[in-house]
């Protein structure tokens, strides 16, 4: 009966733990290993202009909706300037303002983005565009082109492809040639295309973006064409008419407006510099979870102050050490002093490192034991004697530190990190066992404690495990379930197989 409750409870706990774990891992993209890195790009936009005599107002189009990319951070560097971000027709606009400035001015806007396949931010469905007002003779040319292309296409997408193909033809139709007489830059070309598309009542706009590479000091905004087919926005290469988007294409802004405007200044020059860096996946996952307003992350360890986080990264490993101890004691059957003493010793090994930890601990206990036997002759009462042992332990730690420092063994200093009360208790317990049951039992218990401590240390020292437990603390529920199951383990301990070996012979 009890058994069934334990199984049910354990499986419920494990299921909860694993479910949260899988959700965080798969859906939120929390990394399984520490230091997993994802590329991120810092795009620095610098605006240079000459200040005029009066007040200055500078506007810059900045990214708003960026399919395929998430924004990690954005900020402006501009001394003395007021800075604000407004939502305009084409998206977002950054605005710098200053009452008075003189000489050449430079303003910076930086944005950090990372690739995020889920960031498919849907834009609004636009209304059908009004027929553009075009002067003759272009009006006729546009009408001819629209009629011609419409005849050769089926829907907005194929219309656009066909249009672009005709426009890029090396020997174009006369009407196309007439229309494109002025379009000597790619931007003007795409602009003209949007006019034609508008004439065909297809919502279209120019987008301009950056192809993100490792490092580019002078990145160019590439114009691209975007049309709405009634369901979604589609992207077309203005050069070939193919429906596509360049690799790692960050859409900077949409529309026909100029990239930057300056009032009260002149000669504005905008430059883009792209720098790729590697960011911890953790940062990105948090960012993504925050964007989804996931409660799981809102109430996670990562919300705590850094120092507290550091404490918990250690504390969360204690259950792992304790699990090792449970396994060693109840399944393997190793004797040890105290219930949690081995885990606490293992914890202090974190600072001293293993070899030194074992050496220092053994030294300390051995010295303490010999002093304890001397104290025995004084016939002190129990509590004062324990206190005396404690004080002796502190003095011994001090001596070891000082001697080690003199000898230049800096690791010796870490002896101070041992839990001295635990050591004092160990010494007392060990000395009682020593007297009552003999040295063999005492040394066996001490060795057992040490073996468990070392194993617990090794388990608790695994970086990937520490990372996993810290990132997915819900896995502690799985540990809890495991401990519960071991709690109902009624099989033999490994050491019992040896102990009762004679009974198995028959």
């Amino acid at each position: 009966m009890t058994m069934r409750y334990v199984y049910i409870l354990a499986s419920v706990l494990a299921a909860i733990g694993v479910t949260i774990f899988v959700y965080k891992w798969q859906a939120l993209g929390f990394p399984l290993t520490a230091g997993q890195q994802k590329p991120a790009w810092t795009i620095e936009t610098s605006l240079r202009f000459d200040a005029g005599p009066g007040s200055i107002k500078v506007n810059l189009q900045i990214p708003a909706l960026t399919p395929g990319f998430g924004t990690l951070d954005q900020y402006s560097l501009s001394r003395n300037y007021g800075f604000s971000v407004n939502y305009g027709g084409g998206g977002r606009e950054a605005q710098w303002t200053v009452r008075r400035a003189s000489g050449p001015q430079t303003l910076y806007y930086r944005i950090v983005v990372y690739e995020d396949p889920d960031a498919d931010l849907s834009d609004t469905t636009p209304p059908f565009p009004l027929p553009p007002v075009i002067d003759e003779p272009l009006k006729t040319a546009v009408e001819v082109i629209v009629d011609d292309v419409r005849a050769q296409s089926a829907d907005p997408a194929s219309f656009t492809s066909t249009l672009l193909r005709q426009a890029n033809d090396s020997s174009p139709e006369p009407s196309v040639e007439l229309l494109l007489a002025d379009a000597d830059t790619p931007v003007k070309f795409v602009d003209t295309m949007t006019t034609v598309l508008a004439a065909a009542r297809i919502p279209a706009r120019m987008i301009r973006g950056l192809e993100l590479q490792d490092q580019t000091r002078r990145a160019e905004l590439i114009p691209w064409l975007e049309i709405h087919d009634g369901v979604r926005w589609r992207y077309f290469d203005p050069q070939t008419g193919e429906e596509s988007l360049p690799e790692r294409f960050l859409i900077w802004f949409r529309g026909n407006d100029p990239l930057a405007r300056v009032e009260g200044g002149s000669n504005i020059v905008v430059n883009f510099a792209v720098q790729q860096s590697l960011l911890d996946s953790m940062t990105i996952a948090e960012q993504r979870a925050a964007a989804r307003q996931s409660m799981l992350v809102e109430f996670s360890l990562f919300g705590l102050p850094i120092q507290t986080q550091a404490v918990y990264s250690v504390l969360l490993m204690i259950p792992i050490g304790a699990l090792i101890m449970v396994l060693m004691r109840n399944v393997v059957g190793i004797d040890a002093f105290g219930t949690f003493m081995p885990v606490l010793i293992a914890l202090s090994f974190r600072e001293t490192r293993l070899l030194w930890g074992v050496i220092l601990f053994t030294l300390l206990v051995a010295l303490g034991l010999s002093i304890r036997f001397l104290l025995e002759r004084l016939r002190l009462l129990l509590v004062p004697r324990l206190t005396a042992v404690l004080i002796v332990v502190v003095i011994l730690m001090l001596l070891i530190s000082v001697v080690a420092h003199k000898l230049g063994l800096e690791t010796g200093l870490s002896v101070a990190l041992f839990p001295m009360v635990i050591i004092a208790m160990t010494i007392e317990r060990m000395s009682v066992v020593w007297e009552e049951r003999g040295a063999a039992d005492a040394i066996r218990g001490g060795t057992g404690s040490m073996i468990i401590a070392v194993l617990a240390y090794l388990a608790m020292g695994m970086d990937w495990l520490e990372h996993i437990v810290f990132t997915f603390p819900e896995l502690l529920l799985v540990v809890l379930a495991a401990v519960m199951l071991i709690g109902r383990y009624t099989g033999y301990r490994l050491t019992e197989l040896r102990r009762f070996k004679v009974l198995a012979a028959e």
């Binding site: 109840n330 059957g333 016939r379 009462l381 129990l382 509590v383 009682v432 009552e436 049951r437 003999g438 039992d441 709690g487 109902r488 383990y489 009624t490 099989g491 033999y492 301990r493 490994l494 019992e496 197989l497 040896r498 102990r499 009762f500 070996k501 004679v502 009974l503 198995a504 012979a505 028959e506």
Partner: protein, 337 residues
């Protein structure tokens, strides 16, 4: 390794985990523990139930009373001091006599002398809680020193041999005689190196012994064979053990009984977590016997009835050839002679 486990399972050997989870956790409610963990209470309850126990001379529960030891002991030459909450025989001092010249110098069972001030320090340690399970302040008991029956004189080295009976839901299940050795310091505790000899429940005759998890036939110090000793008052011993269930209410119980030369069987103490080495001493597991009791248990049976059931059910045929020396050993021994 799995093969060994399977064989042990087949032999009905009980492991620590199974004992703790299945029997102790289920049959021994924690609130009843004080009845066995506190030896003064065990003694009182046993007396109330009409069982024979070693006479209590006095108790010391405060440091200030430690000096009263002389007063409690009076002119007696032998007595035992033990912690009320001790476990595994820790902290027990057996005084068997006094120095002729100095009356305040006592002779321990080991023959070593101990002065009264040393004795006081020991008692003060007991009272301070050095031997109690939790380290809490404790009480020291001063009681009658059992004059053990000469029956076991050949198979024990100093100290007092006792009989451990495992009682499952009131039914005696298995028994062994625990015999002190030089290594055990005169203590009848298997952990400390005492020898345990299995006992046939029907006749009260000893079987082979166990020393440190190994089967042995002869006492390591005296060389006497264990097997074939007939324990006196056997029926009464089993009955007393069975009665331990009524006294303590514990369903999985170890009852320790000593046989006094003059007073007969006395209940020494009871244990809520009796050890498992008794299985080695008896050459068989407890699990089969537990299942048998579960099958035939009668909740209304009286202690004598239950003892009788145990005698009928759990008889063991005596091992045919207890000595299994390798032939080579004989030759070596002969050469030396």
């Amino acid at each position: 390794m799995i093969g060994i486990a399977r064989k042990l399972r087949a032999a009905g050997v009980l492991g620590l985990n199974e004992r703790n989870a299945e029997y102790i956790a289920r049959l021994n409610p924690r609130r009843l523990y004080p009845r066995v963990d506190d030896k003064t209470m065990t003694k009182r309850l046993a007396l109330e139930a009409g069982m024979a126990v070693p006479e209590l001379y006095g108790t010391i529960s405060h440091q200030a009373d430690v000096r009263r030891i002389g007063e409690i002991v009076g002119e007696r030459d032998s007595f035992v001091i033990k912690p009320a909450h001790g476990s595994g025989g820790d902290g027990i001092v057996v005084i068997t006599g006094r120095s002729r010249r100095k009356r305040d110098c006592y002779r321990q069972a080991s023959g070593l002398l101990i002065t009264e001030s040393e004795l006081r320090h020991h008692i003060s340690n007991i009272v301070g809680g050095q031997y109690s399970l939790s380290g809490n302040p404790d009480t020291a008991l001063v009681e009658y020193c059992v004059q053990f029956d000469p029956l076991f004189a050949d198979v024990s080295y100093q100290g007092v041999p006792d009989i451990r009976v495992i009682v499952y839901r009131g039914y005696p299940l298995m028994a062994m005689v625990r015999l002190p050795t030089r290594n055990s310091g005169g203590k009848a505790n298997l952990h400390q190196g005492a020898v345990g000899a299995g006992v046939d429940l029907r006749t009260g005759t000893t079987l082979t012994g166990v020393l440190h998890n190994d089967v042995v036939d002869e006492h390591p110090d005296t060389g006497a064979l264990f097997a074939g000793l007939r324990i006196p008052h056997w029926g009464f011993i089993l009955e007393s053990a069975a009665r331990g269930y009524e006294v303590t209410g514990l369903g999985y119980l170890g009852v320790d009984i000593v046989i006094d030369r003059y007073l007969g069987p006395l209940i020494l103490e009871m244990n809520a977590r009796p050890g498992l080495s008794i299985q080695i001493a008896n050459g068989g597991g407890l699990a089969h016997r537990i299942r048998r009791i579960d099958a035939i248990r009668d909740a209304g049976a009286t202690p004598p009835e239950r003892a009788e059931v145990a005698r009928v059910e759990f008889t063991v045929e005596l091992p045919a050839a207890p000595t299994e020396l390798e032939p080579a050993d004989y030759w070596v021994a002969d050469d030396r002679r």
